[in-house]
């Protein structure tokens, strides 16, 4: 026991902080950063809501308003929603697998440092007054060299490169871990649904993100070295940008939503105290969503004047998503109805999620229709729609997941009373604030206008939207305060406060650096409900960092694998990569010379370590 501790613990102090490869510490870092970003983006949103709460608002001029919505959208999409899902995966996946760490521990550290680079890339220039001001998708020619002088557009484009490299690193890591490090007995058929969700979201990330990195790099090339990808006069095409952006942008929504489906399923299962109804149907519906998501990006472009028959194809493809999504909703409701549900805070979030997200899904069916979308796109109807989907569909499950796994992460329970208060404020405020936006859109209010005249008659509903958003933000502060206070004051949680079915509840709370003393052996989809004493296997060394590698389909133990020790090289490599990314805004030479420190860093990162050869085929012992 103590030897395991010695083997897996980080060095104390700053050196340990900078070199750690512990997935739990890195995930905690991710989440703290995300909460800070969420707060800042929320403040921006409130600022914009105050500007719009009455006609002819004078709080902001057009420049400040454009910066605010650009920063809000970019932060929420690239620095909050995607990273927080990666962070939950980084934290949960090894615990749910009974594993000691992720497959590529140093890549986890590298991923966080680059994500932090993305955060600084956007917010340090903002502090210096060089804020991107063209929205969260910067369409050329507006973002091209002719209409966006200076470096605002480049900063946005490189911020994306940072966060996407970070997300790709995390996704490769999570997918490899789920496929190769499941505990003995956890065949694919017995894999908890949350792990399916993380696996599918990770694979989607790997396919979708290269498109946006490509398109932002092309934009930078247009701006830096006068390539003409998006210049009609130079033989380029402005629509090419939109196709590539939305080929990423639509799957992106599901990359955020699919892990949320995993959270909801885990909570519904644990609190209904029965296995998820329709496990196979749920997995198949997620798989079909992940495939369909890549075939409907054009529904973001119905108004650009593409051939109508093509638009009809994308209309049908987009609407079909409602089938797998509807099946999931049914399965959750059926699980609650046929189980023995307890309505603790995480379960309340599930109810709030269903009531809110279904509205977003149905308004999604409306905007999926090409002829109707011509009236709805780029109006407040769409603003309402995607906030219902992203806040109702992804943030509410995330808050539920936060409350559900908080005791595991900290060893303390959160206050139920304050949890309920936060829930009521957030869900109530959100619906009060965002439902009126549907009507504003139908009354003709376009997106991204910094002001409107009193003759338009939009002020009453806008005021309501401001009030609702404010209530919602207050609820968010209550949620964070509850989490902070409970960290010191909460009742001790014990290993399994909710009676959960999956392996993470077998680890101590908070889990030690090595997670589990022994690798669990699994016989079903809800292992903790099937055995009073969880069977385990032994054979991993306790005086060296070793993890178990199993086969992809049946999780048959194959190898003991050396797991890399803490290292400073991920941080130094991230710094080298950051230097190249930042430099390439100013000169193309940065790409060439920036490669040198990166190459040196990577060589030292992967420098062979003596003793690594202890890895090898698993000896049959006690199996």
């Amino acid at each position: 026991m103590s030897r395991l501790d010695e083997t897996w613990a980080d060095r104390p102090g700053w050196w340990g902080f900078l070199t750690t490869v512990d997935h739990k510490r890195i995930a905690a870092r991710y989440i703290v950063t995300v909460v800070a970003m969420l707060f800042l983006a929320g403040m921006l949103a409130l600022d914009m809501r105050l500007q719009l709460s009455a006609a002819n608002g004078t709080r902001m001029g057009p420049q400040l308003y454009d910066e605010s919505f650009s920063l809000h959208g970019s932060t929420m999409l690239f620095l909050v929603s995607v990273p927080v899902m990666e962070a939950m995966g980084i934290w949960l996946v090894p615990l749910m697998l009974g594993a000691r760490n992720l497959a590529f521990p140093r890549l986890t550290a590298f991923s966080y440092w680059l994500y932090l680079g993305g955060v600084l890339m956007l917010w340090v220039p903002h502090a210096l007054g060089i804020t991107p001001d063209l929205g969260w998708f910067e369409y050329p020619p507006l973002s091209g060299p002719g209409y966006a002088p200076g470096h605002r557009a480049d900063i946005w484009a490189q911020m994306i490169t940072f966060t996407e490299v970070a997300a790709l690193s995390a996704s490769v890591n999570i997918a490899a871990t789920i496929l190769k490090m499941r505990p003995p007995g956890m065949t694919l058929a017995r894999m908890p649904f949350f792990l399916w969700a993380m696996l599918i979201a990770s694979l989607m990330t790997i396919f979708a993100l290269p498109a946006v990195m490509l398109v932002t790099s092309m934009l930078i090339a247009d701006r830096l070295v006068s390539t003409q990808f998006f210049t009609p006069a130079g033989g380029g095409d402005v629509l090419l940008f939109q196709h590539l952006f939305w080929f990423f942008g639509h799957p992106e929504v599901y990359i955020i939503f699919v892990p949320a489906v995993g959270f909801v399923s885990a909570i519904v299962e644990a609190f209904s105290r029965r296995p998820l109804f329709g496990h196979i149907a749920m997995v198949l519906s997620l798989l079909s969503i992940s495939v369909l998501a890549f075939g409907l990006w054009v529904h973001h472009m119905f108004a650009v004047g593409l051939p109508r028959l093509g638009n009809d194809f994308y209309t049908a493809a987009s609407m079909v998503i409602a089938l797998p999504a509807g099946i999931q909703i049914f399965c959750w409701i059926a699980t609650i109805g046929s189980g023995r549900p307890r309505f603790a805070t995480p379960m309340l979030w599930v109810v709030g999620f269903i009531a809110t997200f279904v509205i977003g899904g149905l308004s999604g069916v409306m905007v999926a229709s090409a002829p109707l979308d011509l009236q709805l796109t780029d109006t407040y109807f769409v603003v309402a729609h995607f906030h219902y989907v992203l806040v109702g569909g992804a943030m509410f499950p995330l808050f539920g997941a936060f409350c559900y796994w908080y005791p595991k992460a900290t060893g303390r329970m959160m206050s139920e009373r304050w949890g309920i208060i936060a829930f009521v404020l957030i869900v109530g405020g959100f619906n009060l604030g965002f439902f009126p936006m549907h009507i504003l859109g139908l009354e003709g209010m376009p997106r991204r206008v910094y002001t409107y005249g009193p003759e338009m008659g939009w002020d009453g509903l806008n005021l309501l939207a401001t009030i609702g958003s404010t209530v919602s933000v207050l609820g968010g502060l209550v949620l964070v305060a509850n989490a902070l206070l409970s960290y010191w004051r909460g009742a001790p949680a014990g290993a399994d406060p909710w009676g959960g079915p999956t392996l993470e509840w077998a680890a101590p709370s908070p889990p030690p650096p090595y997670n589990f003393e022994h690798t669990p052996v699994v016989t079903g989809v809800a292992p903790l409900w099937e055995h009073d004493d969880l069977p385990v296997m032994t054979g991993l060394k306790d005086d060296a960092r070793e993890v178990l590698v199993t086969s992809v389909l049946d999780a048959i133990p194959l190898y003991r694998q050396h797991s890399p020790a803490p290292s400073i090289w991920p941080l130094l490599c991230a710094l080298a990569v950051s230097a190249m990314f930042v430099g390439s805004i100013f000169t193309a030479w940065a790409i060439l010379w920036g490669m040198v420190p990166i190459a040196v860093g990577l060589i030292l990162w992967f420098w062979p370590v003596r003793g690594r050869a202890t890895s090898g085929p698993l000896r049959a012992r006690g199996q």
């Binding site: 420049q63 369409y139 020619p141 507006l142 002719g146 009609p232 095409d237 402005v238 629509l239 209904s272 105290r273 029965r274 296995p275 109804f277 329709g278 108004a303 650009v304 004047g305 109508r308 009809d312 209309t315 609407m319 079909v320 089938l323 099946i327 049914f330 399965c331 409701i333 059926a334 609650i336 109805g337 046929s338 189980g339 023995r340 549900p341 309505f343 109810v351 269903i354 279904v358 149905l362 069916v365 409306m366 229709s369 090409a370 002829p371 109707l372 011509l374 009236q375 709805l376 780029d378 109006t379 139908l442 009354e443 003709g444 376009p446 997106r447 008659g457 079915p501 079903g524 809800a526």
Partner: protein, 332 residues
């Protein structure tokens, strides 16, 4: 079946209170054939989606109600789900049926929007620029184009084919009471057919973010009777008399380098044609209602009224501004 009759089958009974307060920039108060079809589709969607939402909430409520009465200590690890599985099949069937209705409805409306009505179409060229609209009609008397700006006149009952172009960035042409959007994209020749049939004033607005003054890139739309339209177009074709007194700066001063006033020396092309500016309803692409005061303010301090606008504040004396505003206001 006649299209209009089909539309009335799903009359917007529910939306009447909302439609009543919907104004001259709203898809809820259609005044054109295309907008009517889109409104019909919106109603179809609203009812189908509303029923689905009510159903989901009812199921959720029943589930919570039933679940709460079933308290037991140990988790159930192998429940019998045969009835639920049948329910899932039924539910999936209902979703497929609902989607079939909505997809077919979309196809029908799409077909109507694409209908072949262009034979008799009136051709109007609309060009988006940061941040106003150049509007050109074919001269019925000659071969040239009659130009105006930020005010679109259309004859009722006749399809107009709006040919859209952009000289700078992407904009989007949108007159919700008449039809849906069509993006205005540099390097692409887009066109949209609109068939207004209710006479009146409406409002259009740019719907694609296009820079600092995206919020003030609106235009007025007047649907006229065919006779009124013909008279209006004939009036627009007439040139303007030359200004006199202090107002001559408008044709030989800085104004003329960007603006055209037909019949005078002012032949600039960067800004809106001012030949009949006084007859328009608003100033600076929907920023202010038309009046002499608005014109004075706009000439004196364009950056204060529309920060970022490409119209510069030019050095004119107060007397010159007053004279120019009076001249422009008289240009009906």
């Amino acid at each position: 079946m006649d299209g209009r009759a089909a539309m009335r089958l799903l009359s917007p009974a529910f939306f009447i209170p909302l439609a009543a307060c919907a104004g001259r920039q709203s898809p809820l108060a259609p005044a054109g054939l295309q907008a009517e079809w889109q409104h019909w589709l919106l109603m179809l969607m609203f009812w189908v989606c509303g029923i689905v939402y009510a159903l989901v909430m009812a199921l959720l409520g029943v589930s919570i109600w039933r679940g709460r009465h079933r308290l037991a200590a140990a988790p159930e690890t192998s429940p019998d789900d045969r009835r639920l599985s049948r329910g899932l099949g039924l539910w999936a069937g209902m979703i497929v049926a609902g989607l079939t209705i909505l997809i077919l409805g979309s196809f029908v409306v799409e077909r109507e929007l694409a209908g072949e009505r262009r034979r008799e179409a009136l051709v109007v060229r609309v060009t988006g620029q940061q941040w106003w609209w150049r509007i050109q009609y074919r001269d019925p008397a000659g071969t040239g184009w009659i130009e105006t700006a930020n005010e679109l006149h259309l004859p009722a009952g006749r399809t107009a084919r709006i040919e859209l172009g952009s000289v700078d960035v992407i904009h989007s042409f949108w007159v919700p009471n008449v039809a849906g959007k069509m993006d205005v994209i540099p390097g692409r020749a887009n066109a949209i057919d609109v068939t207004p049939h209710r006479v009146g004033w409406f409002r259009g607005q740019c719907a694609e973010f296009c820079g600092a003054q995206h919020a003030h890139m609106a235009f007025d739309v007047k649907v006229d009777t065919p006779a009124e339209f013909a008279a209006w177009l004939a009036a627009q074709a007439r040139p303007a008399p030359a200004p006199s007194g202090a107002a001559v700066v408008v044709t030989n001063g800085p104004c003329a380098s960007c603006h055209t006033i037909r019949g005078t020396a002012a032949r600039g092309r960067a800004g809106p044609d001012l030949t009949h500016v006084g007859g328009r309803r608003s100033v600076a692409a929907g920023t202010l209602p038309m009046s002499r005061g608005a014109l004075q303010g706009w000439i004196a301090q364009p950056q204060a009224l529309k920060p970022g606008t490409l119209m510069p504040a030019v050095a004119l004396t107060g007397a010159q501004i007053d004279a120019v505003a009076a001249y422009l206001e008289s240009r009906k």
